[in-house]
Symmetry: C4
Subunit: 214 residues, 4 copies
């Protein structure tokens, strides 16, 4: 083959990123289909209807932020990855499966957030989806970083250690969000919302700069 191995590697990670970006972009855009347009009956007011479906907007905004943060996270992961293998692609597929599953969890949350009998189930499915996503990110990183399997050969051990530490927290925080549903779904959603905002605005590239500027 006339490509060099490095070019071929770049094409492979490039196409994996492009495919994943496609799934993230579609999953985030399909969220809007969840917000319903009413078929009003005689004498009903559109404003009242729109205001009453506020749980749909809450679920929409939260899931939009979560998927956007997960996309940035995925995008950051690929800064360190130079090759992909089939186990990596398999774990990445499972990750994308739960990203798209969030669409279902979002509709469930929106529809049952105000139903006292069922809100807990909807909250557990929602937080559980986030937990699976966090676990799969950790597995992806572990698989890629173990013995520098899929990373740049010159990656700084301190950098890898620092990212390892970061990925340890994600699943734990989602275990907390899952547990909080049993106390109050609102507390759980507030935590998940806070996490999404916090991760959106924290610049994880500082870790990187620290180790690459040496």
């Amino acid at each position: 083959m006339s490509e060099t191995p490095a070019q071929s590697d770049a094409r492979e990670t490039g196409r994996t990123e492009a495919f994943s970006d496609g799934v993230f972009a579609i999953a985030i855009t399909l969220l809007i289909l969840e917000i319903r347009v009413p078929h009003l009956e005689e004498g009903q007011s559109l404003v009242t209807f729109l205001l009453n479906q506020w749980p749909s907007y809450v679920a929409y905004v939260l899931s939009f932020l979560v998927i956007a943060v997960m996309w940035v996270n995925h995008h950051n992961l690929f800064k360190y990855i130079r090759r992909v293998d089939n186990i990596f692609l398999f774990l990445n597929s499972l990750l994308l499966m739960f990203i798209t599953f969030l669409n279902f969890s979002t509709v469930l949350l929106a529809d049952y957030l105000l139903d006292p009998n069922n809100q807990q189930v909807a909250g557990l499915v929602y937080a559980g989806t986030g937990f699976m996503i966090a676990i799969l990110f950790t597995l992806l990183w572990r698989h890629a970083s173990k013995g520098n399997r899929l990373l740049d050969k010159n990656a700084h051990p301190g950098l890898i250690k620092a990212i390892d530490d970061q990925y340890r927290y994600g699943p734990l925080l989602y275990v907390l969000a899952f547990g909080l549903v049993f106390i109050s779904i609102w507390l759980s959603l507030a935590l998940q919302f806070g996490l999404a905002i916090f991760f959106s605005l924290t610049d994880s590239s500082q870790i990187r700069t620290k180790y690459t500027s040496q």
Copy 2:
């Protein structure tokens, strides 16, 4: 890392553009799901039905043009941007959130355009979505251009000033479109349609040429 900082920057802005393009492309394509195919009852005429749902076509064409113009605008923005940071990505996510929200506003507009009791609410949601998009474009540009934070180091101050001025008008015009709904939804839609056509056909690259040819 074996990439140069410039290559790494280009990859980052490149992936942000690709993800955003994906969201724009999906949002613009999903608009068609709004136009309904009737389940006719005995003796009803398909032609009559298709002609009667003209508000759906109006809303479809308007929103298609608006998203297309917003995409060109987004595309133009990235001509000047050389790096992204997390605040930029966060603002970009909010921008994309309102782009996808336009799908909801479009269905609302199509369904209630001919309902005298509710057309004003539908019109306010529609113009309000456009206003939020315009505000977020302005915030994105302000964040990127302040002190040349994310721009090319050699960007001409006159160029930045000229684009600043452009972005000042967008939100103001949408405030006007929002206010016009209280007088007449048709006037408001005519303004928004005119703006979409005007921005489609105005070549904003002239500003750029002026400053880069020096």
Copy 3:
């Protein structure tokens, strides 16, 4: 700006192609949503239902081929285009609007193909959508090729002439397909199916090779 004009042009046409590819890919994939899965009632047979909805499969296959051919056509167009301007982007947006509109026309065709009172209307909308797509391709090419406006400076005049001739036929053939609906919708669909197969398998790159090998 540190990019050369040629690099900047390539990025612009590249991003226009990527956005258009996204719309084509989504429009072609959404077609499947048109084929319905039945909610059978007691005693009804799934096989019978699936066989009875054969017009849905006809409409699906025809529209899939049409969009695929249009995508290849769009892809071929960009072999010659080196720059984009705002009028080009505007015409391209209108082209994409009718590509996505084909989703609506397809559902209409599938639902009314066997309804003797309404099949003609559905057929006219379907052929009319194809006609608009053909017209917009011609306008796109005319705008780009006039005085070599957006083409490679060294493009061979014979090549441009040969493509001009090709684009003359598209709209005419769709006028014929439109007219045939008044005689028989089956004849019209057969023509459109034949055209899709013919354009799929004709290698238009031969024209190109003839003029670029000199």
Copy 4:
């Protein structure tokens, strides 16, 4: 034209890959729309409903894995392909058509898996879709590899032979899956699930390494 033929070829295969990736990404993401959110009636339990629709989750996970494996397969194919012609693009379109058709087959499978009268029909449509995909992959490869038509000129004959052998099995295994439906749909689904996992985790790049390291 100022591009070299090699650059032009790379652009063409690149755009075909990008379009195909888009269709794969959308098809895999739309699968989630199949899982329904219930409109519960008074006194019904959400948990019971969610547990009862387990066939939807089975169909979702199986189809997600199948499309992911097919995407990796498509991605591997393009490692060897250097040019595309119109017959290749036509076969690729047919392949993508059956990939998107899998969305329909998945809903059918989910809805009729527990219906003893109709599960066999749903199973045959599902396995039949997989069979068509396998056949089209074989045809694509045959067309590309015959006389090195679309491959790298220096491709090793042993490599081509090894991939030929691989592609011989795919359709046969799906014939088996199709036939097994007549004995038991569960056996057929187990085989298809096993195949998806097996192909996910088998590293076909070993074949490639063997022949390119010489």
